[in-house]
Subunit: 427 residues, 2 copies
């Protein structure tokens, strides 16, 4: 629903030239108390729709500063998205500032007041008098329904179309989807650009550049982008809606990435990719973790429905635990050490034997900051995957001295080793 918007005037037929500005409001953003994830979200969504974000500004809780930021934004952009400053307290000043920008008064808006009252009524609570302030809006604005919070949003059409949304991230996101996104789509006389995401493990950015660098030449109109999100690398293809070669480019990139590609969806994490493969085979997983300390289990159980494929795990941090809980032989530990492929595979075998799982993954490594030796420096991590007729081991030297990074990288490497093994077998 876009309340009362008639996309006329300067917006009609604006096509691909729509320009945006993001204004974030709140003193907590300027004192370092709160990280501004709203601007990041809005920048990504606007860009995905093909809108050019020209700039972003942050203002504190002073009406002059907010007015100045909004005025500058309206002078430069066609659409301004402002977040924050819609609450009931005296430092919530967005409505006042916007009214000043467009030279109108602020008055109690009956629609907005009804919305605030209805929200309190539904919750069985009485509205405090201070909440009446949330209905004080610029004359002539469109009230935007907020179904998940008390602060109504509003939009005003002046030099630009300005959307004012609450600063609470989940409210802001809901109102983006209900109000701003549909309005932007209405302005554009074509579909947003097409995008395809590839999520990759095992290849760095320069390797991906070598592998895929010729794609934009081979498929006219298709753009290629890279992004590192340690330990994952992402490849993005973007093209205007009319570009016929897009589907072929997607197929070609998929083919070239092969097993390094683990997902093509922002919301599918590595554990979910593993889950799909296990569920397709009707098999289950057990874990034997040492240096990762439960992190692999955490990644697995983060996935809803994990009980269908995740059986159990052991966090055998001490050597005695490796022996008594997983049956690793004392001789193995003495001869090869806890951080060895021999110990890792014994841990994984023990996990399969002692569980209802067909598959086990084991991890044992030196996470640091201490415990490294010349032979096995910090970052040395041994892995094993054991399954029906399969035993594989691997040692990585993770080039980091950061305990967090070594452990995180190890957890992803362990799941990825299992994923590649399952892909090799087919389903």
């Amino acid at each position: 629903m876009v309340a009362g918007v008639s996309p006329a005037g300067r917006f009609a037929g604006m096509t691909d030239s729509l320009r945006a500005w993001i204004v974030s409001q709140g003193e907590e953003l300027l004192t370092g108390q709160t990280l501004d994830s709203n601007a990041h979200f809005l920048a990504g969504r606007l860009t995905a729709l093909g809108v050019r974000v020209l700039g972003a500004s942050t203002a504190g809780d002073r009406v002059d500063a907010i007015e100045e930021a909004l005025r500058a934004a309206c002078e430069r952009a066609d659409v301004v998205v402002c977040t924050g400053g819609l609450g009931p307290t005296a430092d919530d000043l967005t409505a006042d500032a916007l009214a000043r920008v467009f030279g109108v008064e602020v008055e109690e808006n009956a629609d907005a007041l009804a919305q605030v009252l209805a929200r309190y009524e539904a919750a069985g609570r009485r509205m405090a008098e201070s909440n009446r302030r949330q209905a004080q809006l610029p004359v002539g604005c469109d009230v935007l329904l907020n179904p998940v919070g008390t602060a109504p949003g509003f939009a005003f059409t002046g030099d630009a179309r300005v959307f004012c949304l609450p600063g609470v991230p989940h409210e802001m996101r809901r109102m983006w989807a209900d109000h701003v996104d549909p309005w932007v789509r209405e302005q554009l006389d074509h579909e947003p650009p097409r995008r395809h995401l590839f999520r990759v493990l095992g290849k760095g950015e320069s390797q991906l550049q070598d592998l895929l660098g010729d794609v934009p030449e081979r498929f006219a109109g298709v753009e290629l982008g890279f992004r590192t999100k340690m330990p994952e690398n992402q490849v993005k293809l973007v093209a205007a809606p009319g570009v016929d070669a897009f589907a072929d480019a997607v197929s070609e990139v998929r083919r070239r990435l092969g097993k390094d590609l683990f997902a093509e969806d922002e919301s599918v994490e590595l554990a979910a990719a593993v889950a799909q493969l296990l569920v397709a085979r009707g098999e289950r997983l057990a874990l034997a973790e040492s240096c990762t300390g439960g992190l692999v289990g955490h990644l697995c159980v983060t996935e809803a429905g994990s009980s269908a494929w995740f059986d159990r795990g052991w966090i055998t941090y001490s050597n005695r635990a490796k022996r008594s809980d997983l049956g690793v032989a004392k001789d193995t530990l003495v001869a090869h050490g806890a951080v060895s492929e021999e110990t890792a595979v014994a841990m994984a075998r023990g996990a399969v034997e002692r569980s209802d799982a067909q598959w086990a993954v084991a991890i044992s490594g030196v996470a640091g900051p201490t415990g490294g030796t010349p032979d096995k420096p910090v970052g040395t991590v041994c892995f094993a995957v054991v399954g029906p007729g399969v035993e594989r081991t691997r040692t990585l030297r993770i080039p980091s001295r950061s305990r967090d990074l070594v452990r995180r990288f190890s957890a992803y490497a362990a799941l990825d080793m299992l994923r590649r093994q399952l892909l090799r077998l087919g389903s």
Copy 2:
């Protein structure tokens, strides 16, 4: 080192009125590719020094836009900190933009070039011709040494003192510490405000307000602030350096918070607070996790040196695992269900019996999104702590439908239950 800064002119004796502006530069910030953590970091550090951050702006890779943002910042603030745009490519335009703002030329800076060359030499690599661009700086600027990256920073004194730092976060942070922080301290004719942080579990913001609301009245000159960082709440006391009552206020708040206070340091996490108590007693911990799936283990092993106090863990996600690995009786599971205090305490007992630990914590709950019943809705989580002469159980109804939140909250609640138990015993 503050290269060549003579804190004269308008900066001398500026005391507490120093005003700052933050300018972030990079197209990736406006397309939603990168979250701007630099501005957040700088806002926090400047505020901590007692500097007022008036605003923040983000500009993309257009020299006009960067120039405009810098110009506006210099007109309003005494110190401007700009990040990004110092790389070797054509879209790195900060030096050009800053030169335009102050009406000077850009030229190859010998100091900067020597720095870039030295950096490559130390790495045993040849400098690419394109890196020469990183030494093209505004005439009259001060070059700032970057000991952790190739891009030198620079500072320029015009209407404001402008610091240009690289966009790579760890480089930016290092250069903040080496160059900007000392300069700011030099401008202030007194020490930065004193701050004290209290990290609290088990009390919400409104309860803390009731408990501590009178502190600013009782201790003149002491300010009180709250911040929620789920599931933790933070209390901050701030005062000017001369406020005598500050130490007393800190003592009083500490006394009132009692056992709800788990740390007074940004870098001490809950698991570290538990670790200190266990190490003091010379005792060790085992875990029996179900719905948290290894997250508690992960939090424990995140702490360096955890092998001194963390023994092992079981992720008994299935009922069969609870029985075979921890010895939970079938009758207990049938009579009370997996999510029950009876099952939780049996899990914890089993963990103590089967490990070298004196203490065990067990967690079993309904994380959702499915699996809830009218009796035990999503968010129902049972906990047990078992130790020498101690058996305690507890059930929480976590008011969230989010699997992630329920699991995260449960992990903290489990560690906090152990912490309180250890505090009760003393050391």
